[in-house]
């Protein structure tokens, strides 16, 4: 865990101990587990997932961690939740995975240039992302007993860094630091990679932690 000088960090992050991070990873695990099951049913294939990573990093570092080239095209489906917990959940896909996904389901390749895909393909990809995100949200709602109402998801297909930076600005714990809980979902025989990222801001983090650790978390 790196990023920012200690004085740049918001005090809430200094309260996060190993137990707290474990709990956040478990949330990611449960959420992405449901997403993976949904994807598995949709594709009728075995779907695996990685061990979740809860990480604190600076806004600058986040996109370099995910992208090898900042201008590399990325597909992002984002859903905002309202209710007890307001945050953004993001499903990220690379171009190759989107193409394989379209091939599996529609036996049809999307345009090589993702910027020029048809409206119907675009909405189709958004729908798949939406299914994954909604399963994620419903799983963490059950686990934390906090109400979350996901809004209609939105899709962006563009330079990876432009997308990620724009999302992070609204989810930074402070103006420097992001807390992300990431899980990779992938299939065995056909390479299909997606990263589900949950980005709680300071208030959301506080709410989740006080719900999970009623005694062990001193609310701000």
């Amino acid at each position: 865990m790196t990023g920012g000088t200690p004085e740049d960090r918001h005090e809430i992050l200094t309260k996060l101990h190993a137990d707290h991070l474990d709990a956040l990873q478990e949330i990611g695990n449960i959420g992405a587990g449901h997403s993976a099951t949904a994807l598995s049913q949709l594709l009728n294939r075995r779907v695996d997932m990685s061990v979740p990573r809860a990480a604190i990093c600076s806004i600058e570092e986040f996109s370099t961690k995910i992208l090898s080239d900042p201008e590399e095209p990325l597909v992002a489906v984002i859903s905002e939740t309202s209710g007890d917990v307001a945050m953004h959940l993001v499903g990220l896909f690379d171009l190759a995975s989107i193409n394989r996904l379209m091939w599996i389901i529609r036996k049809q390749k999307v345009e090589d240039n993702l910027m020029e895909i048809s409206t119907i393909d675009r909405s189709f990809i958004c729908e798949i992302g939406s299914i994954l995100l909604l399963h994620y949200v419903s799983a963490i709602t059950e686990f934390t007993d906090l109400l979350m109402f996901p809004q209609v998801p939105s899709i962006a297909i563009d330079m990876g860094k432009a997308i990620l930076d724009s999302i992070l600005l609204l989810n930074a714990v402070d103006y420097n630091t992001v807390l992300s809980i990431e899980v990779d979902i992938f299939t065995d025989n056909v390479q299909l990679n997606s990263t589900m990222v949950m980005l709680p801001d300071r208030h959301t983090l506080n709410r989740i932690m006080s719900q999970l650790f009623s005694e062990g978390w001193a609310q701000e």
């Binding site: 600058e60 905002e80 563009d158 330079m159 432009a162 600005l169």
Partner: protein
């Protein structure tokens, strides 16, 4: 023949002199503000994230992250290097709306804040490529004051001059 490219990362300000090239990669809702004094061919590029400094909490931060404070700091840095404020011209790039979610339209606010701050400083905006729904990479040629801009996808060679 490749000139040195100096990158202004997110929240950073870079200044330089001809023949250097300043660049900001993959601007989404962030806004790139290019300031140029054509006489000594001195210029600066800021890659700012959020509209207003006063919206921050009391915590330490870098002024380059906010559009209004970034512009003031960039003017200060350029004047220290010998630029004259009355010769400055500016160009704006970025400030896109990447998602159709209402709260995510920070790009528009970034652009509005940049226009207001430049007006306060009496610096004319001579060109803009802002808004819409796509990311942009910008190269700022200090030898001419011209910007080259490209968007995602398509041919990597497709540059638009501004």
């Amino acid at each position: 023949m490749s000139t040195e490219h100096i990158t202004a990362g997110i929240g950073e300000i870079r200044i330089g002199k001809s023949p250097k090239v300043l660049q900001a990669i993959a601007l989404g809702s962030c806004v790139g503000i290019a300031l140029y004094d054509p006489q000594p061919k001195l210029g600066g590029l800021s890659h700012a994230m959020l509209p207003l400094e006063k919206e921050t909490r009391k915590h330490s931060y870098s002024p380059g992250k906010f559009v209004d404070s970034a512009i003031l700091l960039m003017i200060h840095k350029l004047v220290k290097k010998g630029a004259k404020p009355n010769r400055f011209v500016s160009k704006l790039v970025g400030g896109a709306r990447m998602f159709e979610i209402k709260n995510l339209d920070i790009g528009t606010r970034n652009v509005q804040s940049a226009r207001a701050a430049l007006k306060n400083a009496a610096i004319p905006i001579v060109a803009e490529d802002v808004g819409k729904d796509f990311g942009r990479t910008v190269h700022f040629y200090l030898s001419t004051g011209k910007l080259l801009i490209r968007k995602a996808g398509g041919s990597r060679r497709h540059w638009r001059e501004l």
